[in-house]
Amino acid sequence: MARVGVFVCYCGANIADFIDVPAVVEEAKKIKEVKISVLYKYMCSDPGQGMIRDAIVQNRLTSVVVAACSPRMHEKTFRKALSDAGMNPYMLEVANIREHSSWVHQKDKKAATEKANDLIRMAIAKSIANEQLHEISVPVTKRALVIGGGIAGIQAALDIADARIPVTLVEKSPSIGGRMAQLDETFPTLDCSQCILTPKMVDVASHPYIELIPYSEVIELDGYVGNYKAKIKKKASYVDFSSCTGCGACTQKCPVKVPNEFNMNIDKRKAIYTPFPQAVPNKPVIDATHCTMLLKGKCGICAKVCEKGSINFKMVDEVIEREVGAVVIATGYDLWDPKPYEEYGVGRYKDIITSLEFERMVSASGPTNGVPIRPSDGKVPKNVVFIKCIGSRDEAKGIEYCSKICCMYTAKHAILLHHKVHDSHAYIFYMDIRAAGKGYEEFVKRAQVETAATYLRGRVSKIYKKGDKLMVRGEDAQIGQVVEVEADLVVLATAVIAPKDNPSLARLLGVSYDKYGYMSEAHPKLRPVETAKAGIFLAGCTQAPKDIPDTVAQASACAAKVCGLFAGDTLKKDPMVSTINNEFCSGCQNCVKVCPYQAIVTEEIPLGHGSKELRTVAKINEGVCQGCGSCVAICRSMAINLAGFTDPQIINEIVAI
């Protein structure tokens, strides 16, 4: 006979004001299994938990029902109280009478009370069918996988490796460095991006605990926290990295010229190339979509000039496997294509460029040797108009959110423009200046005062051509007048968006993503680096737009999380997993098909007691099982059950009202 204790919480006034709590307590007493039913102001407080502990011992309770706030809030708290009293913590059920009753039926106390009664009845009925469960412990593979070799991935990999935990760093492009490598100088200190980034890149390459796999992608991830198995596709580079010395003879002699994506297609690179001079690893790869040898079997000059014989046109993609315990996603960001701004003539006017194109132009190692030019005629511009919020904060054409970094880098661009072209002038159309950060407002002031950039508050409405100038029309709300600026060059601060591959990567990794394609963190405030999937973490812009300091901070936080995860030899896991009753399993294996985690395998068991003949049944890997219950619902013979949510428990709830 079950002996249930019911503990009803006032939650201060939160519950008591809208539910007749004493009546609820009395109602619960009418159920014959209920041995004690009491109320208290704050069940979650120490005295409240003490009440539960005492009642368990005194009344020899077999299960406990707490009627309080959502189980998502305090289930863990109360479970701990149960185990402190020597009871199996999973004999607890929480009736959610706050979020589900008192807070949502504040105008009808009677109905709210009735509902609370029912919710408690359901919880009591369920708790009677509860079973004793025990935490599962699983072993851990102490190796981390970092996806993406931008500054976020680099920082995370270095921090984890410094804790002497092996790291596999996978980068999609031929070199690590990411977006930061494309930048000229960085706000708010104007230190050169290359100067602070390249030493870290070299550290990655030489770190004994880091395995760098460039020009490759993660294509599959199986397993679960502590025990992931990743498949990594190494794209064919057609260059044997082990023998290549990076002398560069091949790239010099290659006759095929291709738009250079690292320089935003402003200049050309070769079909065999290293993305930029400081690339790590500094080994070239062949772009198979443009190499005439690979396309038509003609040329092969690179192979002829290579003294080491490192060129191998027969190389194919290779899939390698790595067992890892944790994953850090650091896939960075893309920039929004401003095509929808038809009123600006984007696409029609060559002298409208994006901010990253400008960044490459002013970069000393960039395609124009650090001098901004007009793409239409190659002249150095004097009047440059910068327009912020292109795509950002624009529901109609772009995205709703603020891209966070544009205010700062536009101020930087104004300063850089002044550095490179002394007799130039920068006009900046803005809506708001968002400069919250250490040294940021001071930096904007520098742009406004030292550089004397003209800030005009208003969104630009139209750009049209007049002679060889572009007329930029917008309101300056400060003076309440429409102004037109004669521009030589217009720079659009395009929005930061999630990489377009993010959703497919998220699905592959089994983590969720938001409507913009950014990876979702487990909690926006309290768990900002974890995903909802245990053992997978987020660093940098893959989660939301961020500047470099924030990105680095989050990457280091990821590293701390990974190190924490790997601190012990095993992991503890909730016991809410599926179990199979072999007696009923007919071995149809449909459950294997629906399991999203490949947690179900088959095994051969004796046909009967002592029988030599075997039959096939399903078997659940409880380390892998996440407890979704898909298999339970499709098992026709009810051979599978999900601990904590068994059929009897749920049916008890249904019929309890």
Binding site: G458, R459, S461, E475, Q481, V482
Partner: protein, 190 residues
């Protein structure tokens, strides 16, 4: 100086939102409408400022402004608005509210514009269709500016640009009935 009290219930904002179907609160004052608007420089308050005035509940000031009378309903602003606010509908809503509540601007231009529209509607009421020369003439008579555009008239007439005769719908009665019933509907609404 305007003193802003406790805005307990901004009835003006509610009325404008209801009539226009837009939500003025969405405006974040980027000013793209102002530089888009071909006539914003003629307005007392350009669209952006009107939006803010509605938010502040400045009813009289809005009604007495000439902005909504200058709005050409060309929809350029709403097409470019990053928050997709139907600004012409907001302008139209203020205009209709001002008419309903009998606010009359003393601004000469506004008076002219209103007069023109009155004549136009009168023309339709009488003939069912519109007749440009007659309209132009009547407008000039009513605005006591007999010779406005007269230098254009001979040339236009000479070139057959503006025909002398005019036509009307056969069932002018139906149109008159429509005017009467529509007017009644307008009153019922209030």
């Amino acid at each position: 100086m305007i003193t802003l009290g406790l805005l307990e219930k901004n009835t003006f904002l509610e009325a404008v939102n209801k009539k226009s179907g837009a939500n003025v609160l969405e405006c974040y004052q980027c000013g793209k409408c102002v530089s888009t608007c071909p006539v914003s420089s003629y307005m007392d308050f350009p669209p952006r400022e009107i939006m803010q005035m509605i938010k502040l509940g400045l009813k009289e000031e809005s009604y007495m402004a000439n902005s909504m009378w200058f709005c050409l309903t060309c929809s350029a602003c709403s097409g470019r608005c990053p928050r997709e606010i139907d600004i012409p509908a907001v302008m139209e809503a203020i205009r209709h509210l001002a008419i309903e509540e009998n606010y009359r601007s003393e601004n000469k231009k506004v008076k002219d514009i209103r007069k023109f529209h009155d004549i136009f509607l009168d023309m339709i009421k009488r003939y069912g269709r519109n007749y440009e020369l007659r309209m132009m003439a009547e407008f000039n008579i009513r605005t006591r500016n007999l010779f406005k555009d007269m230098h254009l008239a001979p040339k236009a007439l000479l070139k057959g640009k503006i025909p002398i005769g005019h036509e009307s719908t056969k069932s002018a009665k139906a149109i008159q009935r429509m005017f009467k019933l529509a007017g009644k509907l307008e009153k019922e609404k209030r």
